[in-house]
Symmetry: none
Amino acid sequence: MNDITLIVDDDATFNAVLVRAFERRGIPARGVTDAREVAAVARELRPRRVVLDLNIAGVSGLTLIPQLLEIEPGCHIVVLTGYASIATAVDAIKLGAVQYLAKPVEVDAILGAFDEADGTDEGEVDATVSSEPLSVDRLEWEHIQRVLREHDGNISATARALKMHRRTLQRKLAKKPVRS
Amino acid sequence: MNDITLIVDDDATFNAVLVRAFERRGIPARGVTDAREVAAVARELRPRRVVLDLNIAGVSGLTLIPQLLEIEPGCHIVVLTGYASIATAVDAIKLGAVQYLAKPVEVDAILGAFDEADGTDEGEVDATVSSEPLSVDRLEWEHIQRVLREHDGNISATARALKMHRRTLQRKLAKKPVRS
DNA sequence: GTTTGGTGAGACAATTCGCCGCACCCGATT
DNA sequence: AATCGGGTGCGGCGAATTGTCTCACCAAAC
């Protein structure tokens, strides 16, 4: 049992960003990018909290949930994925995750999920102090950028993946990123 | 405890279709269209299986899940909704539903969900993670649903948080979620 | 040389958005 | 009872955005 938060995500950049964001808030965090290391690191750290990305190098992150819970029973796992679907959300919760969030997601939302999970035992009043800004425009921008990067900047392929007209994507990209 | 299946859906037509489809397969079924009757009927029938539509006459069907489980502990509840979102799916499973399906859905899928819940108490979830990202429209829908839930269904407050015009939010909510 | 696929951009119709108003309901206040 | 504030639903209208089609250009593959 440890107060450190384990962050599992094979996207090294995003992983590092998350770790830094956690630490900046005074929460110790440890990033893991290789699915095969997860079990070992978890056994070493016994993390009470885990941020788990679903699509880690081919292997489904879903299989890691039972493993993590066996290593540290009662630990809170928040599942994160860029390829969200209702089916995997249902599976993740059934396997014991406390929350399932679709990328892009704000760090505060992750922390909010942990807090919510912590408070469930007590008389929760759902007094969520968590700020939930992130306009839809901003969210869209983040998502587009991520998918675009995944397709190596190929606009046509990105538009297809997003089921959006290429011309529309062109126009959106031509604009500056929207704030908040 | 009873082998009858309780079908809760305020859409009388769809409800009747479901009941008939179940009975044609030799499964006794009882339809309920009024959310206020659910508790009473459940206490009378003690159904082992419940098909529960989420959006019943304004009141969220989610609140019925704990009630049903209290009346008939261990009963299997399959949640059904025309306005599927990850946020409500997560909530439904956390509250104890065994499956969450988006309309339109075939009757066989519902039966399959019950069978799956019967057969394996735990285990075996298909670990297939979709390889394609959410479309921007779908992402927007998920985000809106999540924020909306955080604001207890308050549309005005949600619109404010999203920095979006209330009228626009209304119109978006009136539409069914886009696929994929 | 030709085909295939990506890119940028103009033009125009269809759709959506932002914003106005109005009516209704409900609970609290006066 | 009357009023006031906030939430909700919805019609309408001008402005903005999107969908679609169209070019032309370029690079790599066949």
